[in-house]
């Protein structure tokens, strides 16, 4: 699915948090969004997810406009801010609960997904006892488990150790190969350079720069 953000501006209580954002994420690409804390990265992802109504401008998903044709993108996985799950449930039970809404994946696929982020699907350890890294891994699993067409990840490498970051890179590249449109908000330049096809730089809610990755044949 193609995500098109056109002239998106968002004001909250008179303060402009996003100003005239234009960007497109094509299927099979990773679009990075880089900026310091408070630059509007999370707000932008929230707008694309359908949680925030643009003051002006639109978010169009494969020709359908959010807030007019859709409440939320039809096939989407998100990790925005801190992952939030039920404290009394295990990793697998939390994922199973989420998966029960659509019923799109079976138990085996769910187990594979849990294992793919380095969590044990058989573990009964409750979410409330998870380390920050484990919580982040579960958040990533929830975002990708149904193989959505659009994946929005906000600082996905937060709290991950080196193994976790390597695993995240692998997962992102796999999802990209599968054809997902991935938007990745991150302040880690090195990480973005490694995985993103293009990067938008955000400052005070505005796009202040844009780079495209150099391909092997030298074209950008």
């Amino acid at each position: 699915m193609t995500v098109e953000v056109r002239g998106l501006t968002k004001k909250i209580h008179g303060t402009t948090v996003l100003a005239d954002i234009d960007m497109t994420a094509q299927p099979g690409t990773i679009v990075g969004i880089r900026g310091i804390n408070g630059s509007g990265k999370t707000m932008l992802l929230r707008s694309i997810a359908g949680f925030i109504k643009p003051t002006t401008g639109t978010v169009v998903i494969d020709g359908k406009e959010l807030w007019r044709d859709l409440d939320f993108p039809e096939s989407i996985g998100i990790l925005i801010e801190n992952p939030a799950f039920l404290g009394a449930y295990s990793a697998f039970d939390n994922l199973r609960l989420l998966a029960s809404i659509k019923g799109a994946i079976d138990q085996d696929a769910l187990k594979d997904c849990t294992a793919s982020v380095g969590l044990d699907p058989a573990s009964r350890k409750k979410y409330r006892k998870f380390s920050l890294g484990m919580k982040q891994r579960l958040g990533i699993a929830a975002a990708i488990m149904e193989q959505p067409d659009i994946i929005l990840l906000d600082e996905p490498n937060n709290a991950l150790d080196l193994d976790g970051i390597a695993l995240l890179k692998d997962l992102l590249l796999k999802e990209k190969e599968r054809g997902a449109s991935i938007l990745l908000a991150c302040h880690d330049n090195e990480f973005l350079q490694e995985v993103a096809d293009e990067v938008f730089f955000l400052d005070a809610g505005r796009i202040v720069g844009h780079t495209e990755k150099m391909t092997s044949d030298g074209l950008s």
């Binding site: 109504k53 998100i78 809404i101």
Partner: protein, 279 residues
């Protein structure tokens, strides 16, 4: 279909897992029954066989209209207040916490905001119904223990015992089924309005609104202070010039529909900001 799935999840997460609340409810109603059971002997009156109807009227008696007078201290209906604050508290946090946490993810997966909203409204209504059902079960348990009557008939001594305004008393028999029906419906409406405030502002403010409404309702007899419809002592079933339960039922149904549809319409257009708050 997905609304039902949401509701099933809500019941699993916020009702089944919170089963101790059922025990608290059970003991509250048993305690209320015990208080009434001991009342006749405490006042030196001849005990009479108390029926389920008597215990229900006792639990939801409230107080007669308060007329301000320095010589007439305001005697707050603590049991009545506790009964309604408890259910307001039980329905307070889950919708907000759900929106802050996994519910946001679930709503996104469902692709529809209104389903989430409708499921939360249904959850509040079911929680209120369960609360009163547990209350009735507790009273039935007590009635069977004390060999009282299982019917809803209210003994003629009850209004006097509960300090109703006996000067304005309607002739018995008093049919309380309609009053109870209106009471349940009004409680659902108040808890739904509380949910609306909770989601748009903060849970604590939602609860403050409910507490204020109940306090003011005890002080003032007024058709706009909805707590009045929750008091047997001010109901037209017992008192001339009392509040009609039919009017209360209509008001509550209008409120329920308004929260469901207007609230849902607003919810569909609102931002879901950090921490789940709406703006």
């Amino acid at each position: 279909m997905r609304t039902l799935k949401f509701l099933a999840l809500d019941l699993r997460i916020a009702t089944l897992r919170e089963w101790p609340r059922g025990l608290v409810t059970f003991f509250l109603f048993v305690l209320a029954a015990l208080a009434l059971f001991r009342l006749p002997s405490l006042e030196g009156k001849v005990p009479f066989a108390l029926s389920l109807g008597d215990y229900l009227v006792n639990a939801f008696a409230g107080m007669k209209e308060y007329v301000f007078d320095p010589r007439n201290p305001f005697d707050y209906p603590a049991l009545w207040l506790l009964a309604f604050l408890l259910i307001a508290f039980f329905t307070l946090r889950h919708p907000y916490q759900d929106l802050m946490g996994s519910g946001k993810h679930i709503m996104l997966l469902s692709g529809n905001r209104f389903r989430w909203w409708a499921a939360k409204c249904a959850w509040v209504a079911i929680t209120v119904l369960l609360y009163f059902a547990i209350g009735v079960i507790a009273l039935l348990f007590w009635v069977s223990l004390t060999q009282g009557g299982l019917g809803l008939a209210v003994s003629s001594q009850m209004p006097g015992l509960l300090k109703f305004d006996t000067m304005l008393l309607v002739q018995p028999p008093w049919e309380i089924l309609g009053f109870l029906f209106g009471l349940v419906s009004m409680t659902v409406a108040i808890c739904l309005v509380q949910m609306l405030v909770t989601l748009y502002v903060k849970p604590v403010l939602g609860f403050v609104c409910t507490v204020s409404l109940l306090f003011l309702s005890a002080f003032f007899k007024n058709i706009f202070l909805l707590g009045n419809y929750l008091m047997a002592a001010r109901s037209a079933v017992f008192i001339r010039d009392g509040l009609s339960w039919q009017a209360g039922l209509v008001v509550s149904l209008v409120l329920i529909a308004a929260v469901l549809f207007l609230g849902g319409f607003m919810f569909k257009r609102m931002d879901i900001l950090d921490g789940g708050r709406l703006a």
